[in-house]
């Protein structure tokens, strides 16, 4: 499977965060397999037109959170995750996404029951 990355300069999210999310999502859904070798930082910075620093920061955070492993002199690789680990990380990412809309939903004074009902009705659309 191929790595897919696209960066939006106008996004509210910083570039390193966009990289982080795209790689993390592709890792937990299995689109990127364990052992996949990420492209060299400089080459990637060149082809995406972004700075090396953004990529380094994304890689650092991905490594800290266990999505990738770096091997000195050989580059960075997608971590070999067990099914359990993968589903745990996937839940964490999903939770982070959900939390982002919680504050607006709470301001709407939506109850948990209402929220679940709404999700039931519209999520599979």
């Amino acid at each position: 499977m191929e790595l897919s990355l696209s960066i939006l300069n106008t996004s509210d999210k910083p570039i390193y965060r966009q990289l982080y999310e795209q790689i993390a999502f592709q890792t937990v859904t299995g689109k990127l397999e364990g052992g996949y070798c990420l492209p060299p930082i400089r080459a990637l910075a060149n082809s995406l037109g972004i700075s090396v620093i953004s990529i380094k920061r994304a890689w650092e955070e991905l490594e800290r959170d266990g999505f990738i492993v770096s091997m000195v002199g050989r580059g960075c690789f997608i971590a070999d995750l067990s099914l359990d680990e993968r589903s745990r990380l996937r839940r964490e990412l999903a939770l982070a996404e959900l939390k982002e809309c919680f504050s607006a939903l709470k301001r709407l004074e939506l109850t948990l029951e209402e929220l679940i009902e709404l999700i039931d009705e519209s999520y599979s659309e």
């Binding site: 790595l3 897919s4 990355l5 696209s6 960066i7 939006l8 106008t10 996004s11 995406l48």
Partner: protein, 287 residues
């Protein structure tokens, strides 16, 4: 809303090959209209033709409902014009320049002029060349605003100014139109100025108007869509107005009504800047 300025199908060809191709634009009363385009797209030429400073080979221009250039003298009493920085008579004092300028306007309002000088903190005893770029624009604005103009036409009033000065100019603009009777047409390539205060947008590209209308409608008609290369179906690619492709994915500009082709992909709001960049730089040959 009544139209204070109407230009229809203006045609003008230059020997070098550049031409205005049937340019139409209008300014409604009480509105700020931003005129955008790259350097050399035809913004200044269009403004010059509208003001009768440059000839046209076709089309018509109406100011306050009266045809130009037949009613030029009456029309121009009600217009304030600022073209670029103020570079004339640079060794003269402001009061000398003002004294020369005011004689052209029977409706000159000296009280208003004094008010503007103190608001803009301009010293009449200074010489033009002693003013900073921002002060020059403010002085030009003070002159343009002191004869009760109903329409201001400005060519890149904010270029070369720092962000704070630009913001001040935008405040002056909003203030000017706040009574709903007066209007502004200004050209710029600084898209953040438009985000701050333009009600309408007219976008010119290679001498041709490619977009015009309510700012939020114009920007709302587009989305940025991004994804991996495997998501770039031929139909989607066809629908993208501009596309930036890397070995790892793509980002493209798409019309809101074609968004169903990008189902499941991440999308984001497009601002004027990205609309311009994707339309001009990443435009792809639609075969």
């Amino acid at each position: 809303m009544p139209k204070v300025l109407e230009a229809r199908n203006i045609i003008k060809a230059f020997p070098g090959g550049f031409e205005l191709k049937s340019v139409s634009l209008c300014v409604e009363s009480g509105c700020i209209t931003g005129f955008i385009g790259r350097n050399g797209a035809g913004k200044t030429t269009t403004l010059k033709v509208i003001l009768g400073l440059s000839s046209r080979s076709g089309g018509e221009v109406k100011l306050f409902g009266r045809a130009m250039p037949e009613h030029e003298v009456e029309c121009k009493k009600d217009i304030g014009v600022v073209f670029g920085g103020f570079e004339y008579y640079s060794a003269k004092k402001l009061k000398t320049v003002t004294a020369a300028f005011r004689r052209f306007y029977s409706n000159w309002n000296d009280k208003k002029y004094r008010e503007l000088l103190s608001r803009f903190q301009l010293d009449e005893g200074k010489r033009i060349k002693e003013l900073s770029a921002g002060m020059k624009v403010k002085y030009a604005l003070a002159l343009a605003l002191s004869h009760d103009a109903k329409l201001l036409v400005l060519d890149e009033p904010t270029s070369g100014l720092d962000p704070v000065s630009r913001d001040e100019i935008m405040d002056i603009f909003r203030d000017f139109v706040s009574d709903g009777e007066r209007s502004i047409l200004f050209s710029t390539h600084i898209t953040s100025d438009l985000d701050k205060c333009a009600d309408h947008i007219v976008y010119i590209k290679d001498g041709e108007i490619v977009m015009s209308g309510d700012r939020e409608q114009v920007t709302g008609a587009y989305r940025l869509v991004q994804g991996g290369l495997d998501a770039l179906s031929p139909a989607l690619k066809q629908a993208l107005i501009g596309i930036k492709q890397t070995p790892f994915g793509f980002t493209g500009l798409i019309r809101e009504d074609a968004l169903h082709l990008a189902d499941g992909l991440q999308t984001a709001k497009a601002d004027i800047e990205s609309i311009m960049i994707y339309t001009e730089k990443y435009e792809h040959a639609q075969s």
